[in-house]
Amino acid sequence: MRYMGKGRIDMTGTAREKKDYSATKNACKLCSPLGAALVFKGVRGAVPLLHGSQGCSTYIRRYLISHFKEPMDIACSNFAEETAIFGGGANLKVALENIRKQYAPAVIGVATTCLSETIGDDVPMFLREYREMFPDEDLPPVVHVSTPSYQGTHMQGFHGAVLATVTALAQGAPAERAQHINLFPGMVSPEDLRHLKEIVTDMGLSAMVLPDYSRTLDGGLWTEYQRIPSGGTGVEEIRRSGTAAASLELGRILAGEKQTAATFLETAFGVPCHRLGLPIGIRETDRLFEALTAATGRPMPEKYTEERGRLADALVDGHKIVNLKRAVLYGEEDLVAGLAAFLSEIGIIPVLCASGGKSGRLKKAVADLFPDAEEKGIRVMENADFVDIEAAARELAPDLLIGHSKGYTMSRRIQVPLVRIGFPIHDRVGGSRLLHLGYRGALALFDRIANTLIERQQDASTVGYTYM
């Protein structure tokens, strides 16, 4: 089969404007309700509820299950024809009631879909009416986020849900600043979440990490069926986020967003907001520790000094394997930017940085990391799909692809190895356990990247060396 690229890739590296009327082929993005559902899975005792068609929750559940390999109960208000005509109010209320009966949730997270948004459902009003139906009952809080699938990608849904959760639940008196901090990690793996929490704890801090699906979506076997898996950020913790000493929000692309959970807390409650990159690689992780040191007055613990040392040592040991190699990166913009930061430290040139997102900020984020991006021939593509990416990759003939599972067919066709990171990992086990963050994450990534290059060289050799 012939894959036709559009041949309209911008050589100067600006965001490519997709022609208004062309199809998206093999999308490098997902729809916004998926991101929102994932966030609600990271809130303790929460049940996500999609306000739309049955397929929305089922498809999203399948997609998430295939990555996380965990039960993924996501409810749906399940529109029928008459619902679309008369509005989704009645269905939403029935759904809330049935969830309450079956799951006894601590929180219900309602995310809309293209359908309920297009017919103009007034969800806040429905929620008020629902509360009024039970004046004497202690109903769980309901968080509502607007996630029309025709706006943005799953990342807008993700960050939107974090913001909506904090907006709905946070309380605080501007005068009192407690010792804890808020940490908004972005869409990272359960292993990443565990590592971030470990770092914060080792710095002597307690943190409200939102979302935290490190246990809810990566837990042990059960003795009895758990209607809602244990773990997640507690409602009480989220309530206290307004009194935190500071908020740390990770993601260089997110940092360009006008309103996020962290900026909201700053405006509403005066919680100082620190916006950092995803801590992938040495410098970005250094910055995270600097921010934590600033918040606590404590230096980086010895354990991490050692980890940093081992990482630097490994980078030196393996530098010749990776330096000047060329890689194609794709995926969520923040992950691409974070990874590009790490590659800039080890000499791998990200000749293509591509994302299905279109914040308009990826190019600058990459340019900040690579002031000589143009000389190096680094291209940045926003609003890209896999046909675009593959066409560019063919032309660029990189040594390596770095991204999620959906790039596998491209890797196979153009015969360039793929290092799997991020989400989704649908064709390998262990997607939840991939570590990207911190010195430890960078070391794990470095080993995988270097070993992939070594393996390629070894396999290509006619000699069959047993040491490389």
């Binding site: 089969m1 036709m4 208004d20 009327y21 062309s22 199809a23 998206t24 082929k25 093999n26 999308a27 993005k29 997902l30 729809c31 309700p33 509820l49 739309g52 068609s53 049955q54 397929g55 929305c56 929750s57 089922t58 498809y59 399948r62 997609y63 299950i65 965990e70 039960p71 993924m72 109960d73 996501i74 409810a75 208000s77 399940n78 529109f79 029928a80 024809e81 679309a84 029935v94 809330l96 009631e97 049935n98 009966k101 079956q102 799951y103 293209c114 359908l115 297009t118 029309p148 699938s149 025709y150 706006q151 076997l221 059960w222 003795t223 009895e224 069926y225 758990q226 209607r227 067919t409």
Partner: protein, 464 residues
């Protein structure tokens, strides 16, 4: 729950509105409430109308499949099925009009038109299917009109599939797909089609199953005009009206098309299943019986069945020894598959303690009741909590289902067999039965269950 209620060992509540869709087989008769829209807030394992259409048409490998709507519906169905093609692989690509906010406001017809024309120009398909998703009608797009316009311009069939997600259940999606397919039927030349010929309907070539089945029929001396839609080709569909008989698998995904072909072209149809020795053999014998004026077809069929069964029996016997008395739960899309699985599991010496489906009808559930042993739980349109409750209460050793059922089984330390469209190995046919037995044995016999706290009784090697 109606009938003698199952002994409750879990505290998982069942919603009142769901009670008439859950039964325990006992002496009293019951009438399953089914075929209705899923209850809001119940985490149904079902998908939507779009999904029904998409699964039926997906394997047509030389057609363009364009999904008109926001990106999700296309992204989540990109290359998710193991439906193989022996030639073109256009079906494995995902195309979406990726509607944006401005399209929702101003309409998506222009975008649809241009996207379609460009895609057809690039990929040169034999036909194009355009799937409507939820919001398409609501924003006022006339998809049928755009399809007609494009058809005129490009000269290939461009078929609208009316699959708005909320307009019914998955079954309505099957119908919408059959309606689209029916537009192709009758367009091809059938002058060289044998009077001893069939169409295979409702077989999607997961892991190459259609090839296995087709091979049996061909060895019987029966021509297979088209397989719908496994390893499907537009031109085959176009001449499918030349076949003498439609052989329909699967609970209803393509019965609508068979009925339409019967009415318009007078082609009779029979229902079959290719799972398990018993049903697979019946599927061959029933076709042979249809061509009774050619006794040699039946002769060959007997030989094929004998040879194939002989080939797999020794290993099946060994596996059966290990599985004897183990308990299985089944929750699948169509009830017809459940019937076959019950028989196949019995052949392997296992007891079925739960059987359910997403889309069964009243007759299907009567059939299930007749087939099942006393005490078996029978469910329609179940949710994860119900499934968990009963697999625990019934102490299942094995769960057969799809992606969404898998983690439920695993969390509780119960073996699992994928019997959905995502799997990569063929489970149909005689060789498929052997694969199925190996798969079941492979999961049930794993030593890992000894580490599952919920399965204390599963000691080392408990699976045998």
């Amino acid at each position: 729950m109606a009938e003698s209620s199952a002994k409750t060992t879990t505290d998982i509540p069942i919603l009142k509105e769901r009670e008439s869709q859950i039964y325990q087989k006992g002496k009293a008769p019951f009438r399953m409430t089914c075929g209705k829209h899923s209850l809001a807030g119940s985490v149904s394992q079902r998908a939507c109308v779009f999904c029904g259409s998409r699964v039926v048409l997906y394997p047509i490998a030389d057609a363009l499949h364009l999904i008109h709507g926001p990106i999700g519906c296309a992204a989540y169905t990109w290359d998710i099925r193991g439906a193989l093609s022996s030639g073109p692989e256009l079906h494995r690509l995902s195309f979406s009009t990726d509607l944006q906010e401005k399209d929702v406001i101003f309409g998506g017809e222009k975008k649809l038109y241009h996207a379609l024309v460009a895609l057809i120009e690039t990929h040169q398909p034999k036909a194009a299917f355009v799937y409507s998703t939820c919001i398409v009608g609501i924003i006022g797009d006339d998809v049928a009109a755009v399809c007609k316009q494009v058809e005129k311009k490009v000269g290939i069939p461009v078929l609208p599939v009316h699959s708005e997600g909320f307009k019914g259940t998955k079954k309505d999606g099957y119908k919408a797909a059959c309606n689209a397919l029916f537009h192709l039927v009758g367009q091809g030349d059938v002058s060289d089609v044998s009077p001893y010929s069939i169409n295979i309907l409702g077989e999607f070539n997961i892991g190459g199953e259609a090839w296995i089945i087709r091979d049996y029929y061909q060895r019987m001396g029966v021509e297979v005009v088209s397989t719908m839609t496994g390893d499907g080709r537009v031109d085959d569909v176009r001449r499918s009206h030349g076949a003498a008989l439609n052989v329909v698998q699967c609970s209803g995904a393509m019965t609508t098309l068979a009925e339409m072909m019967q009415e318009k072209y007078g082609i009779p149809y029979i229902r079959v299943s290719y799972f398990g020795i018993e049903d697979q053999s019946k599927a061959l014998y029933d076709v042979a019986a249809h061509f009774s004026d050619r006794p040699e077809i039946m002769e060959r069929t007997r030989r094929i069945v004998r040879d194939e069964v002989q080939r797999i029996t020794p290993e099946l016997r060994k596996i059966r020894q290990a599985l004897e008395g183990k308990r299985a739960a089944i929750y699948v899309g169509g009830a017809f598959k459940a019937f076959s699985l019950i028989k196949a599991l019995r052949y392997l010496g296992m007891d079925v303690v739960l059987a359910g489906s997403q889309t069964g009808n009243e007759a299907d559930y009567e059939m299930l009741r007749d087939m099942c042993d006393d005490g078996t739980i029978i469910l329609d349109d179940a949710n994860p909590l119900e499934l968990s409750k009963y697999i625990l209460e019934k102490k299942a050793d094995l769960f057969i289902g799809g992606v969404k059922e898998r983690p439920i089984a695993y969390k509780m330390g119960i073996g699992f067999c994928d019997h959905n469209h995502e799997r990569k190995i063929p489970l149909a046919g005689y060789s498929g039965m052997l694969n199925f037995a190996r798969e079941v044995y492979g999961t049930v016999s794993s030593p890992v269950w000894q580490f599952a706290p919920g399965r204390k009784e599963a000691g080392p090697g408990a699976g045998g």
